[in-house]
């Protein structure tokens, strides 16, 4: 370690640095500011904007801090006359062609060029010739372009090449005619494409849905957590006068680094969907009437009291908060029903085990071998797929055992397309191979052996079961076999459940009691009554008769942000609840990280945070344990419960259930997974959104 360290001096201050490290990394780590446009910590170095020029002693000319490695005894001056003069000159060049349209530019107020122009620009331009104009590109429904503003930092190009793995943007033309674009008009189709909006240091690439909606200085920044997948992506909600205007990443190197998926970024549009439920509604024959909260809640209490013991089914979205699920579970058990579930798309229900990645998210980058069973990873957890990509590019052997072929933009060691029945058979052979069966015996081929060897011979390895595995008709057998294989090879087993809070749902008790009904049973046979928390039974499940089953009940309470047609057809009472941005709450991520957030936006209409609604309901029903005055109290109770619970392990083996050879597993399209994304117009207009019409069933 000490051999690798070098001593340098920056602005007269001695600093230690790692040998070969770029100057800008050292200055950043030591809070010495060096201006930059093209340099970005998470992208490869390009050194093409030249803004970070600094003076290095004994060097004849200023050197770019982003591309100059430190050497022993280097003396660097970031604010000397020579450095400042170089930076000012670069700034002058950059401003030659940059339009002076800050007042109508969305980036105004949060623009790196604007900020640095204040620091390094002149008051008056010496350039009197004509500025160039660049034709705008159409990059699709998410990213707006004003290419005249581009300063050719190529951050967006490098993002496509090195992070997304789909180089669609490039620099065409030469000199004055140099442009960023796709050459042939093409939209950028990638589940992480929105990140180029944040990367762009100027107003060339901006958010299309947010265009001209608000100024950055009018909004306050509120921390949020992604409600779409179990990674626990950190977000900031930008709120103006109580309204969520946009969502941007909140840096967390342990989870999402500086990225977020398009789903996280643009789903906020769904918060203000036209079908938001504004007030509690009571069914009146075939029509609906608005009532006040008191009336509505009393009607709910009355209805639930009429249900026979165990005659009520509780279905909750897996993206409900821990607080909501804790109270819902308490309510269910309080009225004598153990029928509570959040696994709406599951078909086989083995013993419930809290889903877990089994490792830290940040450690995924360093995996050496990975077997993914039943996962459309890029769609299920986009940022996790991006981390797997990092590992694969570094040489990790990543294999897939999937019901269909999905495109991965990284080297895949082995990709096995197998029907659900074939998946079980393949896993059985893999287990046999891991037990030492040779090629030729028990169906073992060289490929099986190769996969098992990659898992056995490497040190950092994992086996993951994705959402498609959980929808498998024999999930229990699949999980048992995967656990067995993991134990035999020493790999970490990860179960990547759907929803932002699947782990939290298990910990909060949103799984059925022994002998009680699970989601599959509740959605196939009608119960006396149902309580739906953020659930649209048909759209959120894969049971063909889900809506009919719920409609067959005598009494259906829907706690929902949306008065969707589906809910209007089946519900008796609809109670408006806040979306993820309008309630305080906690999500437990798949790595077991508890992340709480406060309500960022004002609830729409008369909607209330669901935990408050459930608390009042519990009191009206005269149940114990509903006396909390803040969501933190509910959280503390849930936390105590979770901490006291015995650690669970996925059971190994357990036999293989017989399933039909033609059984299928349904892939839910990227932008259909929850109520929020289904209502985000920009996401629906993307290629992924368009290819997946409402209710579309993926091929097996």
């Amino acid at each position: 370690m000490s051999e690798d360290a070098v001593n340098i001096t920056v602005d007269g201050v001695p600093m230690k640095a790692r040998k070969g490290e770029m100057i800008i990394r050292v200055t950043d780590a030591n809070d010495v500011y060096v201006p930059r446009f093209c340099y970005h910590e998470k992208l490869p170095v390009a050194a093409n904007c030249r803004m970070c020029l600094v003076e290095v002693e004994k060097a004849p000319k200023p050197l770019p801090a982003c591309a100059t490695p430190v050497m022993e005894g280097m003396v660097i001056r970031t604010k000397s006359a020579k450095a400042i003069a170089a930076q000012r000159s670069v700034m002058e060049f950059l401003l030659i062609n940059h339009p002076l349209d800050c007042p109508i530019c969305d980036q105004g107020g949060e623009c790196e060029l604007q900020d640095l122009a204040v620091g390094y620009g002149r008051d008056i331009s010496r350039y009197h010739e004509r500025k160039r104009v660049v034709k705008d590109k159409n990059l699709g429904p998410l990213v707006s372009t004003d290419m005249t503003r581009c300063i050719h930092c190529t951050r967006c190009v490098r993002f496509g090449q090195d992070v997304a793995g789909i180089p669609e943007l490039g620099t065409t033309g030469r000199g004055e005619h140099n442009e960023i674009g796709t050459y042939i008009e093409a939209s950028v189709n990638h589940e992480l494409s929105g990140n180029i909006i944040d990367l762009c240091p100027v107003g060339a690439l901006n958010s299309k849905p947010f265009r001209y909606r608000a100024r950055s200085w009018e909004m306050t920044q509120q921390p949020l957590v992604s409600p779409h997948d179990g990674l626990g992506t950190n977000l900031y909600g930008h709120v103006r006068r109580g309204r969520l205007m946009r969502v941007v990443p909140r840096r967390n190197d342990a989870i999402n680094e500086t990225w977020i998926s398009d789903r996280d970024r643009f789903s906020y549009e769904g918060v203000y969907s036209a079908d938001r439920l504004q007030a509690p509604m009571l069914r009146d024959g075939d029509s609906w009437k608005s009532v006040d909260w008191q009336t509505a809640l009393e009607a709910v209490a009355q209805g639930l009291q009429q249900a026979p013991k165990g005659g009520t089914g509780f279905l909750a979205s897996a993206s409900s908060t821990v607080e909501e699920l804790t109270l819902l579970s308490r309510l269910a058990r309080g009225i004598g029903s153990g029928n509570i579930d959040h696994r709406l798309r599951q078909t086989d229900f083995p013993a419930a085990v809290t889903p877990s990645l089994g490792m830290a998210v940040a450690d995924v980058d360093a995996l050496q071998a990975l077997l993914v069973i039943g996962a459309n990873l890029r769609h299920e957890i986009p940022l996790l797929a991006s981390r797997v990509r990092k590992a694969a590019v570094r040489g990790a052997k990543v294999s897939f055992l999937n019901p269909e072929r999905f495109e991965y933009l990284f080297p895949v060691a082995q990709y096995w397309v197998a029907s659900p029945a074939q998946q079980l058979a393949a896993l059985q052979v893999l287990v046999a191979a891991a037990r030492g069966a040779a090629v030729g015996s028990e169906g073992v081929t060289a490929e099986h052996l190769q996969l098992v060897d990659s898992l056995k011979s490497n040190e950092r390895k994992a086996i993951w079961l994705g959402a498609l595995a959980q929808r498998h008709p024999a999930f229990g057998s699949l999980r048992g076999l995967a656990a067995e294989l993991a134990a035999l090879t020493g790999a970490t087993l990860g179960v990547l459940a759907e929803g932002a809070n699947a782990a939290g749902a298990h910990l909060a008790g949103a799984v059925p009691d022994a002998g009680a009904l699970n989601a599959g049973q509740m959605l196939t046979t009608s119960l006396h009554s149902y309580v739906l928390l953020g659930v649209e039974p048909q759209a959120d499940s894969l049971v063909a008769s889900a809506a009919a089953a719920v409609a067959g009940a005598r009494f259906v309470v829907a706690l929902t942000p949306y008065a969707s047609d589906e809910l209007k057809a089946v519900a008796t009472i609809m109670l408006p609840i806040g979306s993820f941005a309008e309630t305080s709450g906690t999500y437990v991520s798949l790595e077991g990280r508890w992340q709480s957030f406060a309500g960022a936006a004002q609830p729409v209409g008369e909607s209330r945070p669901a935990w408050k609604v459930l608390r009042v309901l519990g009191n009206l029903l005269g149940l114990q344990g509903f006396a909390q005055s803040a969501s933190e109290e509910v959280l503390a109770e849930a936390r105590a419960l979770a901490d006291g619970a015995a650690p669970q392990a996925v059971p190994q083996g357990g036999g293989v259930a017989a399933i039909a050879a033609d059984a299928v597993v349904t892939d839910v399209p990227l932008y259909q997974i929850d109520a929020l994304v289904r209502r985000a117009p920009a996401l629906q207009a993307t290629r992924d959104g368009m290819q997946a019409p409402q209710g579309a069933q993926g091929a097996a």
Partner: protein, 167 residues
């Protein structure tokens, strides 16, 4: 990546053969280095200009993202990405040639062909590409370049001879 049908068939046997020989000169996996040569033969095959389809075909053949081929094609002046005549003619107008009467050469060529610089003859025979900057042939000024061949000490007679010989 586009999921559309293969465009490799657009490249002739000869072009593919030439590309293969260039790919072989670089280390395994560095086929991106062969883009320049690949485009040269592709342009030749297509009588002097590249089309988006042809560039995509090259990308597909070299297993590169299409944009990386577009970047190269649009950067280098020897590649034309819009339809133009088969023979590329450019007259140097940099200082030595200018002092030796390149303005008259340009005027003569334009008048003879009936087109302006940057245009192609209607029969698709000649593309008067651009006024070239110095091609390092100052001792032979005034000069012009026709299909990458230099013609020096230009006179109206000499120009007639060169241009009329183009098929």
């Amino acid at each position: 990546m586009t999921g559309s049908t293969s465009k490799i068939g657009l490249l002739t046997e000869h072009t593919r053969h030439e590309i293969d020989s260039w790919v072989a000169r670089f280390p395994e996996g560095r086929q991106r280095s062969a883009v320049l040569s690949a485009l040269r033969f592709t342009q030749e095959q297509n009588q002097g200009f590249l089309t988006p389809d042809l560039m995509e075909a090259v990308a597909e053949y070299l297993k590169l993202p299409a944009i990386q081929v577009f970047e190269v094609a649009s950067f280098y002046s020897m590649f034309e990405t819009h339809p133009c005549g088969r023979h590329h003619v450019s007259v140097c107008t940099n200082i030595s040639c200018m002092l030796n009467g390149s303005d008259e050469v340009v005027a003569y060529v334009e008048k003879k062909l009936g087109i302006k610089t940057g245009e192609s003859t209607p029969d698709g025979r000649i593309f008067l590409k651009r006024e070239e900057e110095c091609l390092a042939s100052c001792t032979g000024a005034p000069m012009m370049m026709v299909d990458h061949h230099f013609h020096e000490h230009l006179t109206p007679e000499k120009i007639d001879g060169v241009l009329d010989a183009l098929k």
